[in-house]
């Protein structure tokens, strides 16, 4: 299960809760094991796992996390990096302030390193939609970080 740490990182961002993230990763890995035969030849097992995770998360009737208000700051810092710095906290906060669909494409496309095509398969949306969401997400994140830099002396 070499993907488990990466899945956990993504799950913590998705759920905003440490224990919920642990449960989500467990459920995802079990579903992947149970349905391994459904994985089509030639498709990415890694992308498939992320797809299962997102389907499981939203299939549980969970609402899209608007703001991770329930997660203490130190947890969010821990989520992102081993050595939290000001930049990490700022980025983390700016990312959390984005709409869920923007946050998701940035996490998948930039942080997890999936291609636009893979992200489109994970989210079951056309690749053009992924591209436009990524562009808007990058723009919004930059604006939020610029605003933050203006406030912090």
């Amino acid at each position: 299960m070499p993907e488990a740490p990466r899945l956990l990182r993504f799950a913590r961002r998705l759920t905003g809760e440490m224990h919920a993230a642990d449960d989500l990763v467990q459920e995802t890995l079990l579903k992947a094991w149970r349905n391994f035969r459904q994985l089509q030849e030639g498709s990415s097992a890694r992308a498939w796992c992320y797809r299962i995770m997102l389907n499981t998360f939203y299939g549980q009737g969970r609402k899209v996390r608007a703001m991770p208000a329930t997660v203490p700051l130190e947890d969010r810092v821990l989520v992102g990096a081993t050595s939290p710095g000001i930049d990490n906290v700022e980025i983390s906060q700016a990312l959390d302030a984005l709409p869920a669909e923007h946050r998701t494409v940035l996490l998948l496309g930039v942080v997890e390193g999936f291609t636009c095509r893979e992200v489109s398969e994970i989210l079951s949306v056309p690749i053009g939609t992924v591209m436009s969401r990524l562009s808007r997400a990058r723009q919004s994140l930059r604006e939020k970080l610029t605003q933050g830099e203006k406030v912090i002396p």
Binding site: S92, T115, M131
Partner: protein, 233 residues
Amino acid sequence: MNCREIEELAPLYLSGELDEDRKVQFHTHLAECRSCAQQTEQQSAMDERLRKALCAGLPYAGEIERSVRGRIVRERSRRWMLVAAAALLIAAVMGYRMLRPERLYADAALDHRQEVVEHQPRRWRTDPAEIEKLAERYELADLTALAPAGYRLEHAKMCGIDGQPALHLVYTNGVQEFSVFVRPGGGMEPLSVHSVGSEHLARFRTARHEAVIVTNGSSGECLQFARFAAAAL
């Protein structure tokens, strides 16, 4: 490529998905357009900043992996237990059918008593051609060969014994009547003799058939008839 196309294709450029031709066109435009070059540079720098901030370390997932492995082991053993339980059930049902043919004897004895001894009305086939057709279904070629010399086939019909269809043949020598029940089901089982009430029965299996002989005569007569039929089948 114009500025709008650059803006549209930037995500594919940054994820390394542009083919060689379009990458060359993209670079050519960036070299000529300061605004697009700056925009792309900023996006790339922000991606790097995001990765640096969120990918600096991976969380420890050892406990989760251990827990998942445990659940997989439990699920696997549960699946095997289900398979084993199903196999046992099938074996038990087959064993019951093979080892406890009481119902078969009871049904055959009752049919013989009601239909042959008491002559309760039934739709018997007496026309040899019709009987031959029935026999063909059970891969029985020569029905006269089933009975010893001096016996003739009186009539026949389809019936159900032990929940399965069978061919009921009645032979007589003018004094004694014998019911012969034949159904498909091989397995090579030697001749055995039984009795239900005043009826004597003999049962055997050949490579392709299972047969039960019933008579109100003696058990010796029953055995003699059955030996002859077993040799013919």
